[in-house]
């Protein structure tokens, strides 16, 4: 009867609270330089300390520059203060910091799994909505506000109302050229950007268990675009093999004991969810967004819907009924905690090899972490990107979002492997089309939105 979520939740309840809420133990807190200084300083100003600094980690990813040779200087006006103040606050609090220039620096949701900071069955929070990415390892991981980060650091707990549960089952197998990104865009397009609101969403089914670890992270990354409280995937041998030996993962006898316990982290066959959705994976095509919400997405071979709202059409400068393929773009971006892991870069590079980005297109690749960057360079992927006409950057959030510094040209049209296509997300009035790294690579070559399967010859 018990769901995976119930098992994790029940193991973390410290005390019941009035009104059906509970005090829930928090195993890991992650911070980034955008809000890290605010949270740590507010704590210190209130005369409080971080209860267990060994379980709190800070990363430089949101504001740090991604141009080679970077320092604390960053293109965001006033950005340097966020970096230096977070560094000072992290040092004062005694927490672990992955600083600018650290070999382990990178986007928090890429670095944490990479180092085994997140583990199955853990509760992990960060003041960042894409914390749900880390649910791919079978952890309950979710985004919070800065005040809640302060609370968790001070007390080792959060006050929470138990979320509802939902299972999204992807049955069958994906067609060639269709990825985890397309699965999520298809889900959100079909069930709405608010479809998962208030629910912890467990992703299950044959098409999910068939995904490798990195694709599972892409899937869970966009749980927040579905308004879910968190995304979850039951850990299995794929998870355990991937985690084994990572720096903060348990070792020796602890590993064996941990893994034995993790095998129970699954939903019973007769588990009852508050809500269930089933999707035939074979029916999913490569997707691309046309509007300013991830739910405004269609198959890349499709057209802008006839009933599209005029506000979205005006902003995106598109007409109802127009095909997406062939829409000219100004720029292409491969990066972010959604799709900038090694496997993402490999798949994009496979398409780019021997090709050139269309004339006039600005194309940028930003690896998800410094470790991903090194691994890609060891395989020569950097050269493939550079030869094709892409910029090859240092790791960070970069132009996944616009913070007032570097951005795409005002009003330009960008095809992007990121997760959000909101107004001005990537620069003033920038029109973002979100898609898989394959679709971004193929579109960069074509100079217009393109179907990567044609380029791949499939």
């Amino acid at each position: 009867m018990t769901t995976l979520f119930d098992r994790i939740w029940d193991a973390h309840v410290v005390a019941p609270l009035p009104g059906g809420a509970a005090l829930v133990a928090i195993d890991r807190v992650l911070l980034h330089e955008r809000t890290g200084a605010a949270a740590l300083n507010a704590l210190a100003e209130a005369g409080r300390t971080v209860a267990d600094p060994a379980r709190v980690f800070a990363m430089m990813d949101h504001i740090v520059d991604t141009l080679p040779g970077r320092t604390d200087q960053t293109l965001m006006p006033g950005g340097q203060a966020f970096i230096t103040e977070t560094r000072a606050a992290a040092q004062a609090a005694g927490i672990t910091l992955f600083d600018v220039g650290d070999p382990d620096q990178g986007i928090m949701h890429v670095v944490s799994p990479e180092l085994g900071i997140v583990l199955p069955g853990l509760t992990l929070i960060a003041p960042d909505s894409h914390t749900c990415t880390q649910g791919a390892l079978g952890a309950l991981a979710w985004g919070i506000g800065s005040s809640e980060a302060e609370h968790a650091m001070a007390t080792g707990t959060l006050r929470l109302t138990r979320p509802k549960t939902m299972r999204v089952t992807f049955t069958g197998t994906l067609a060639p050229g269709v990825t985890a990104k397309d699965m999520m865009l298809a889900l959100i397009a079909a069930h709405g950007a608010g479809g998962g609101a208030g629910h912890v969403v467990e992703f299950a089914g044959q098409a999910v268990t068939a995904l490798d670890m990195e694709a599972r992270m892409t899937l869970c990354n966009m749980a927040t675009e579905f308004s879910a409280f968190a995304g979850l995937i039951a850990p299995d041998d794929v998870t355990f093999d991937w985690l084994k030996g990572r720096r903060y993962a348990p070792k020796g006898a602890h590993w064996d004991a941990a893994r034995a316990g993790w095998r129970d982290l699954r939903s019973d066959a007769d588990a009852v969810f508050d809500s269930e959705i089933e999707i035939d994976a074979a029916s999913i095509a490569p997707m691309v967004s046309w509007g300013t919400s991830p739910q405004a997405s269609v198959a890349v071979t499709g057209s802008v819907p006839e009933d599209a709202t005029s506000a979205m059409l005006d902003y995106m400068a598109l007409t109802a009924g127009a095909p997406l393929v062939g829409t000219p773009i100004d720029a292409a971006f491969i990066g972010s905690c959604t799709n900038a892991r090694l496997s993402d870069l490999r798949r994009a590079a496979a398409l780019l090899k021997g090709c050139k980005v269309a004339p006039g297109i600005r194309a940028i690749c930003v690896p998800g972490s410094s470790a991903v960057r090194r691994a890609a360079e060891a395989e020569g992927l950097d050269q493939v990107f550079l030869d094709a006409g892409f910029e090859w950057r240092m790791s960070g959030c970069s132009m996944c979002f616009f913070a007032g510094g570097e951005s795409f040209a005002e009003g330009s049209r960008v095809i992007s492997s990121t997760n959000r296509n909101f107004e001005s997300r990537q620069g003033l009035r920038v029109k973002t089309h979100i898609a898989s790294p394959e679709t971004v690579a193929a579109s960069a070559i074509a100079g217009a939105i393109a179907d990567a399967r044609e380029l791949a010859g499939g």
Partner: protein
Amino acid sequence: MAEPFTTLTSIAAPLLRDNIDTDAMIPSREMKSTGKTGLAGGLFAGWRYLDAAARTPDPDFVLNQPQFSAATLLLCGRNFGCGSSREHAVWALAEYGIRCIIAQSFAPIFQSNCVRNGIVPVVLPPEVIAQLAGQAVEVDLAAQTVSADGGVWSFEIEGEAKAMLLEGLDAIDLTFKHREAIAAFQTADRAKRPWVYLEQNHA
């Protein structure tokens, strides 16, 4: 710590779009300070100003209209506060003076950020919200009611959130009342899952 919230009377300013995200409430480029203040000027900057740099107001934007200039209550659509978890959105709203938001639904992180910063999130059906637009509205948190010309509507709010808002309490102090339970939990949990408890400078 926020001011206690008992009742509020304000003209209700309608911003009746669905899926208003936190980027729209406080664009990244407006988050210039590392603290929690200095954000009110950037609230809804993309919509509120014709020229954000020069701060030239757009007369069409609801909060720029004279009748709504003193509004402390916003009316919104579905999934208000979706997107980035930035608490700056709520800090900006609070600093601007907003004390209550009535929406068809809220994004969960945003909703709990409201409570932590003294803003009361109220969920009411769309037809009621439409009726409240431009009216003088009274919100009574203790009674969990919204009243205006034409009716009184009750709303749901979690007990915990209500208590915090009513008393302007700090959640950390509330939680420290459970100090012993937390210590007991950690002792038992450490025996069961020792690998969760990392050593400092583990690396």
